[in-house]
Subunit: 342 residues, 2 copies
Amino acid sequence: LQRSGRKKDERHKDMEIVVIGAGGWGTAIAKLLAKRHEVNLWVRNRSLASEIEKKRENRKYLPGIKLPSNLEVFTDLERINQGEVLLMAVPSFAMREVACRISKILSSRKAIVNLAKGIEQKSFKTMSEVLREELGVDEIFTLSGPSHAEEVGRNFPTTVVIAGQNIKLGKRLQAALTTDRFRVYLNTDIKGVEYAGALKNVIALATGISDGLGYGDNARGALISRGLAEIVRLGMALGGRKETFFGLAGLGDLVATCTSTLSRNRLVGFHLGGGKKLKDILAEMDMVAEGIYTVKAAYDLARRLKIDVPITKAVYEILYREADPLDKLKELMARKLKMEEV
Amino acid sequence: LQRSGRKKDERHKDMEIVVIGAGGWGTAIAKLLAKRHEVNLWVRNRSLASEIEKKRENRKYLPGIKLPSNLEVFTDLERINQGEVLLMAVPSFAMREVACRISKILSSRKAIVNLAKGIEQKSFKTMSEVLREELGVDEIFTLSGPSHAEEVGRNFPTTVVIAGQNIKLGKRLQAALTTDRFRVYLNTDIKGVEYAGALKNVIALATGISDGLGYGDNARGALISRGLAEIVRLGMALGGRKETFFGLAGLGDLVATCTSTLSRNRLVGFHLGGGKKLKDILAEMDMVAEGIYTVKAAYDLARRLKIDVPITKAVYEILYREADPLDKLKELMARKLKMEEV
């Protein structure tokens, strides 16, 4: 494979970056960073890998976006040792398995950055916790915020947050991952960033349901602000900082997701609101809607921690108890009149 | 005029309510409350008043929505003394003048509720401060939150907040204004609620500009969350409570406005982003976009209080200094890399 056409950026010297996972987000960020760095993209599926290599396009997960010639594709996991930075872009349900495979190969110290937004089923662990356990590396970072892959792939302006406890390394990563169309903020509250990214998908399902019922901007605005209040209550009980939930990884991503035609979580909600059954919706979908799993975890966690999450509860009952969306939304509107509390 | 067809609501006995101003919002809330109460709507313009009375529709400001037969329309301001509750639904630039006229007529104690979202030019006073001064009444309330008139008029589910310092009277108003499609929360931070409602229009202009430039959900999500951080900084310096800005009157209304096809502020921004000049946009508009005035006040206040408001500054320069929208958005993306702070 050739390494041609790569332009150097003034702000930061080249790094060797490995992206694990060629879904939409992994592919988009690999494309973005190939402008400045040597980027290698690990593709699990061999036929997808050779298609991406030949066509310079990931037609399955990021169709219509040309990938640069210097972006290298590989399938043999052994090659990850070439990189200094490892971006983990696999769905949350596959994170532990892939991390376990990587742990057996990893031979040198690397900066590890999680890109997934989800909570592990049953254990309720965040992705950085899963990675820390499997890789035995203390310094895990999570990159999150409003960042639809389709837009990053098209070079639309995007602003995200990178979170981790090692500020020095965090600043290096912040500088390395920034481009003129991709602005990275630094945050030390990794727990908050991870719970924010996961829990927002539950509220995206709720606003999708509202839209599917034919409700309008007023209802969506209310669900987003009351939904964020639920995220704050639950996320703080889980160890996140309040401010984080009001930042890019919380509010920013919540808004982008709840108002987007690109969000799979919102789309699932939309079909539910329109009267479809969950299993029929899922049968027609090719990709993962993380919120479907997160709502279960969020509901269980809230019950255990005795936290009031009426919107999450309504979404849970619509998804898993076949409750009627209209009845549930009416119930939310008819609750006892209250003082406004965040 | 007849009072027929009025249904009584179980939750609260009828009140006599007077709505001042027959713009979109005044008309919509008059229609909503006429379900439960005796409602009289003051219309400044006589020909509009007689048209509304005859056609049972406000074709100018709330077209396509049938008004109930028990909603009474009047033009003689003297009649306001019939009501126990006065809802002030005039644009902020006209509030002082109308309040001054009312002050000369008012003969009995009433609950006064402001519905406008703006800051007075030059004085930078909130609408409740203007009303307090003009009417000599201490207990002013403000109703705010994500509440597009077109949706309330169509009976779409809507959730708002009523703010004032007298909790007992606040609770009575909360109960009186609630219907099964209009849920009212109570909040004591009237300053916060008013600054939130006014300042969100500045960010709506910003997201409109971004949309007009062809940017996407990621940019909008970033502008909303970084924009809310500006609202919080400035609003707290002006005496509002942080939580209020993250509630319905702040975040909720911000989201509804920034993602709506119904928002005039967003629309002005959209045309600016598309390359039109402000004066040409305004020449084509029939109604008020409050944000155009608010951005001036916000910019001046932030300078005086030495508060960093990069998005507000960019909007101000695009509107009043003929700055290029694309340059300004690029500048926002290229600022020094930072820690995320709300």
